[in-house]
């Protein structure tokens, strides 16, 4: 008897608990958190924190959710996450457009910033390898880039595997004498670059603009066949490079406009240019701040910009 009563009580208590927080949470509309996506490169981390802090300042509850740079778009389309501040054409175009077309994700507009993601060499490499930035010239002096592991092929230091780049396939398609080694994290790229620059060793690695590197080390992108001009690229994208002046967009969940109208207005107005993005990553990667500190600094430095979003 007592056992049964207890069970019954437990079921009822469960019932009461279930209709608890979720049911009443809807009362003040903005109380549900706005979930901002964070990825694994510096400028995105800082700028998404900036956006989060601005929204928090407006009274919203903000949460940050870590996500992978490709997976995020499905999560945003489904409303599991709400806003992504940096979507790069070079690496995320396919997933972005697929999510907009198939799953109903919202394209929240492009930034002023012009982006490019490509193989990159420091300036001093040009002296050792004539004909750069053409990719065929690079291929001819592949041997100077070789390391113990890749000999006799040259080593290309590639981005983390989850960034959606297919450089091994490109190397195969263009029959280049290189081996693409993916690093586990972006920071390894800079560590490798620093080590090479210190001894002026030849290195070719993945880089992008806007980034803090351009302020620190002069260099150039390698010119692969331009996808805008070469027709074969449509059939086999591996034969070509990334777009030379790509977009940088924002991605948002379709329910934002209805649920958080004020925040949505701000999100649409957010607009970074190349120097603002590079500044954000400089604060962390060169000055050694934490993401939080860098975001605070960035906000303090750009009050006018932030005010302009709220109009």
């Amino acid at each position: 008897m007592i056992g049964k009563t207890l069970k019954f009580a437990a079921i009822l208590a469960l019932g009461v608990t279930l209709n608890g927080p979720t049911a009443w949470a809807a009362a003040p509309e903005s109380d549900d958190p706005i979930i901002i996506v964070q990825n694994n490169w510096t400028s995105q981390l800082v700028l998404s924190t900036v956006v989060g802090k601005v929204l928090e300042g407006m009274g919203y509850t903000v949460e940050f959710a870590p996500s992978d740079s490709q997976l995020q778009f499905k999560a945003i389309a489904d409303g599991d996450m709400h806003f992504q501040v940096e979507a790069w054409e070079g690496s995320m175009k396919t997933a972005f457009e697929k999510a907009v077309a198939e799953d109903g994700m919202v394209d929240a507009g492009a930034h002023k910033a012009v982006t490019r993601e490509e193989w990159w060499v420091p300036q001093y490499v040009a002296d050792k390898c004539p004909g750069l930035p053409d990719w065929k010239a690079l291929d001819k002096c592949a041997e100077i880039f070789a390391t113990a592991e890749t000999k006799p092929k040259g080593r290309f230091v590639g981005p983390p595997a989850d960034w959606g780049k297919n450089y091994s396939e490109r190397v195969g398609a263009l029959k280049m004498n290189f081996e693409a080694i993916n690093v586990g994290q972006a920071a390894t790229l800079w560590a490798e670059l620093d080590a090479a620059v210190a001894k002026e060793q030849p290195i070719v690695l993945f880089n992008w603009t806007p980034n803090f590197i351009e302020a620190k080390t002069p260099g150039m992108f390698i010119d692969f066949p331009d996808p805008a001009k070469v027709p074969e690229c449509k059939e086999d994208p591996n034969l070509c490079g990334a777009p030379r002046s790509g977009w940088l967009k924002k991605a948002a969940w379709s329910g934002l406009a209805e649920k958080y109208p004020e925040a949505w207005k701000v999100m649409q107005n957010i607009d970074f240019d190349n120097s603002q993005i590079a500044a954000a990553s400089l604060l962390v990667d060169v000055d050694g701040m934490t993401t939080e500190e860098a975001a605070d600094k960035w906000i303090a430095d750009n009050t006018a910009v932030i005010e302009s979003w709220k109009k």
């Binding site: 208590a13 979720t22 809807a26 949460e63 940050f64 995020q72 960034w163």
Partner: protein, 749 residues
């Protein structure tokens, strides 16, 4: 391969060399023949791309179909998965409120109603007696539950993203009124999450209850570290997932385990499933889970539950099978129904094994929660992942230590709980106050601290200036780690290059040139020899259909390369350590304690020292696998030597064997079956670890899983995961078959 060891047949008398080595000759012959054939037909070396069966695409299409179209009549599969997510989310909401989020007063309304029911019941009990009091309490709860039902349905329909089935017009909506009132009375205020001091104190008091002062001190120190380094909030985010995932996995595992012992059919289906679930690396679960459940806390929870459940089920099976027959008999004699038998006799009798299962569940959960940060779980894992990705090794060390300490706390507490002796005699003599002293103290402490938290912010979360170790220290640590590695690099770099060029690359080239047909022949022959044609067909079939046909052979060769190199190192270090600890009790104490500790670390952690020392590269990968996989090699060697019958060693000593002779001629040969089981475990753990090392590069099956994650390409991830599982299962079956046969020959079983 030890499989071809001619000593296998030595026990048979009267055989000449050729016939006793007949199998070895056949084996080598077949391998040579297969090698020659595969140089003639290149298709036997690498499965031709045009013949690859697009299993991966089929699986991806299947998941896409499940996600977009599949229906179960009334509702779609997606609705069902969303409903499951919604249900899992409810307890998560509460654990988050309590541990780190805090909530507005009206969000605690259910607590208000539960308290209201309890208080009115108490009041009525005083006036009218127990029966009426029960009715009153139930009445209140039932009314509130019915009144709130539309809200539940509305929230659910939002979760499945259907048009709201019901507008949230509660029947009367009275259950909300106290909420509005509370909200109006306390505008903008927030009930804080549990203060950190209270959580630390709670852990310490519990630790004292189960394990005395020593454990309590250890626990308090470890938990304080989390607060004093400013990682409290992140730790509680992780912990709120653990708190919900552990009961789910434990209960699910318990029921599946009971089911397996009750039904032969269930056993036939579930046991191989558990094998598969444990052999498949963590990361591979994430891909389908993400496709079905999206990203965020809840999918992380689901992946965690799936991964952490099998050990509990296994322990339950083991526990129920090892209940002494006389205990069951006495249960029968006192007329137990089968349900009473299970709950009142079998499970209590095997409590210890079950609690070990729970311990396993907790450790696996913690490991998985960290990995799940790849799909959006927040908390320590997320922070650690970011620090690793930005190579901020100072921060990463700080956060890594936090995860390890959390693991240590949970591990030690559950172990102490499992080993706690229940002193019934003492319990009978003590008063109610003595029995519940820990609970009462905790209640008082909790109350005081919650009140205190409203006067001082530092009680709920330490403010930055009070931190013992803060970001600046982490930055300093970062700098010193960089300096040390910069200093070490001059010494490490030549070693790294030498090992890479002269050891690793030859091994890699050897494996990468290995034709699949040769490996298949090897498996088939070994399987036939050890377990007859059925085992042979099973192993070669698994290998062919899951690894070769879907075109994963090339990735698998790299996996072979990592695992076998790591295995070599593990054995070179692990075997002597095992022998040493079997010889010297002092050494055993220290070495086994280190093993225990190594096993509590979530696998993620091992990446840290590896990339600090060797930078990104193949050596770092192998270096990260070794400490994780070495533990069983040491343990089983120790165990195997300890199991050698005393009389046998005695006999050897009597016949004048030196210590070395005794070890090599008597004890080791007898211990070999046990040691091989250790090797088996080492291989399984190395395989699991290869998936984690994908985070720092590589080109193996693990990397395939990792790459499948961003593209939500379920097929690619699943097939690569199954590939790793297959390689593991093959080794497992072969070694087990061999060890069984060998033990039989030695008369050990």
């Amino acid at each position: 391969m030890t499989v071809a060891d001619p000593s296998l047949d030595r026990v048979k008398p009267n055989s000449n060399w050729l016939s006793s080595n007949g199998f070895a000759v056949q084996f080598v012959g077949a391998i040579v023949a297969a090698s020659i054939l595969s140089f003639v037909f290149s298709g036997l070396r690498i499965w031709p791309t045009e013949l690859v069966v697009p299993v991966k695409e089929w699986i991806s299409d299947f998941f896409r179909w499940l996600d977009k179209e599949a229906t179960l009549g009334l509702f779609t599969v997606k609705d069902a998965t969303r409903t499951v997510s919604w249900m899992l989310k409810q307890p998560l909401i509460w654990s988050e409120y309590l541990l780190w989020k805090g909530a507005k007063p009206f969000q605690f309304l259910p607590v208000f109603w539960l308290l209201a029911a309890a208080f009115s019941a108490f009041f009525v009990y005083r006036v009218r007696g127990a029966r009426t009091a029960t009715y009153v309490a139930f009445g209140i709860l039932a009314l509130v539950a019915i009144d709130g039902l539309p809200h539940i349905l509305l929230s659910l329909s939002k979760a499945v993203r259907a048009d709201p089935w019901l507008e949230a017009s509660a029947f009367i909506g009275f259950s909300e009124w106290p909420g509005y009132l509370l909200d109006a009375l306390t505008p903008g205020s927030k009930i804080k999450a549990l203060p950190w001091v209270a959580v630390v104190a709670g852990f310490a008091i519990f630790a004292h209850w189960v394990g005395g002062w020593r454990l309590a001190t250890l626990v308090a120190l470890c938990m304080s570290y989390l607060a004093l380094t400013g990682l409290w909030r992140e730790s509680m985010k992780t912990f709120s997932l653990v708190v919900v995932a552990v009961p789910f996995s434990a209960i699910l595992g318990l029921f599946l385990g009971v089911w397996v012992t009750r039904s032969k059919r269930a056993a036939r289906v579930l046991t191989p499933m558990f094998d598969l679930m444990q052999a498949t690396p963590h990361l591979a679960y994430l891909v389908p889970v993400v496709v079905m459940f999206g990203a965020g806390q809840v999918p992380a929870l689901i992946a965690t539950v799936i991964f952490a459940m099998p050990p509990m089920a296994r322990c339950t099976i083991l526990a129920l099978q090892t209940v002494p027959a006389d205990v069951i008999e006495s249960g029968h004699m006192s007329g137990c129904t089968s349900r009473q038998m299970l709950w009142k006799v079998q499970l209590p009798a095997s409590q210890k094994t079950l609690l070990m299962g729970l311990n396993q569940v907790i450790m696996q959960t913690l490991a998985m929660v960290v990995i799940a940060s790849l799909v959006g779980a927040q908390g320590l894992g997320h922070k650690l992942l970011f620090s690793l990705q930005q190579l901020k090794l100072g921060y990463a060390t700080m956060q890594g230590i936090a995860i390890v300490l959390m693991a240590v706390v949970l591990d030690r507490i559950t172990q102490a709980y499992a080993n706690r002796s229940t002193d019934y005699e003492h319990r009978d003599r003590s008063t109610a106050l003595q029995q519940h002293i820990h609970l009462i103290i905790f209640g008082v402490v909790l109350f005081v601290l919650i009140v205190a938290a409203y006067f001082s912010r530092d009680v709920s979360v330490l403010s930055k200036k009070l931190l013992l170790i803060d970001n600046k220290d982490a930055l300093e640590l970062d700098k010193s780690i960089k300096q040390i590695t910069f200093f070490l690099i001059d010494y490490v770099q030549p070693i790294r290059d030498w090992v890479t060029v002269y050891v690793l690359i030859p091994i890699r080239n050897f494996y990468q040139a290995m034709p699949w047909a040769v490996v298949l022949t090897g498996y088939a022959m070994a399987g036939y020899k050890l377990g007859g044609w059925r085992l042979s067909a099973l192993l070669s079939g698994l290998f062919f259909f899951i690894v070769v046909l879907p075109g994963n052979w090339q990735f698998a060769t790299t996996t072979f390369y990592y695992v076998s190199s790591a295995l070599g190192v593990c054995l070179i270090i692990g075997l002597p350590l095992g022998v040493w600890s079997a010889r010297s009790p002092t050494a055993a104490k220290i070495i086994l304690a280190i093993c225990d500790t190594l096993q509590t670390f979530p696998s993620f952690i091992y990446l840290l020292p590896a990339i600090m020392l060797f930078k990104v590269g193949e050596l770092a990968i192998i270096f990260a696998i070794v400490p994780y996989a070495m533990v069983p090699a040491i343990r089983y060697t120790y165990l195997g030597l300890k199991l050698v019958p005393e009389v046998t060693s005695e006999a050897a000593r009597m016949s004048g064997a030196t210590a070395w002779q005794r070890l090599f001629k008597v004890e080791l040969p007898i211990a070999v079956p046990e040691i091989m089981l250790g090797v088996n475990q080492t291989i399984m753990m190395a395989l699991a670890m290869t998936a984690i090392t994908a985070l720092i590069g590589g080109s193996d099956l693990g990397q395939e899983i990792y790459r499948a994650l961003p593209t939500s390409d379920a097929g690619r991830g699943v097939m690569a995961g199954l590939g790793i599982a297959t390689l593991g299962i093959i080794v497992d079956r072969l070694i087990n078959a061999w060890a069984d046969g060998r033990k039989r020959d030695l008369g050990l079983i």
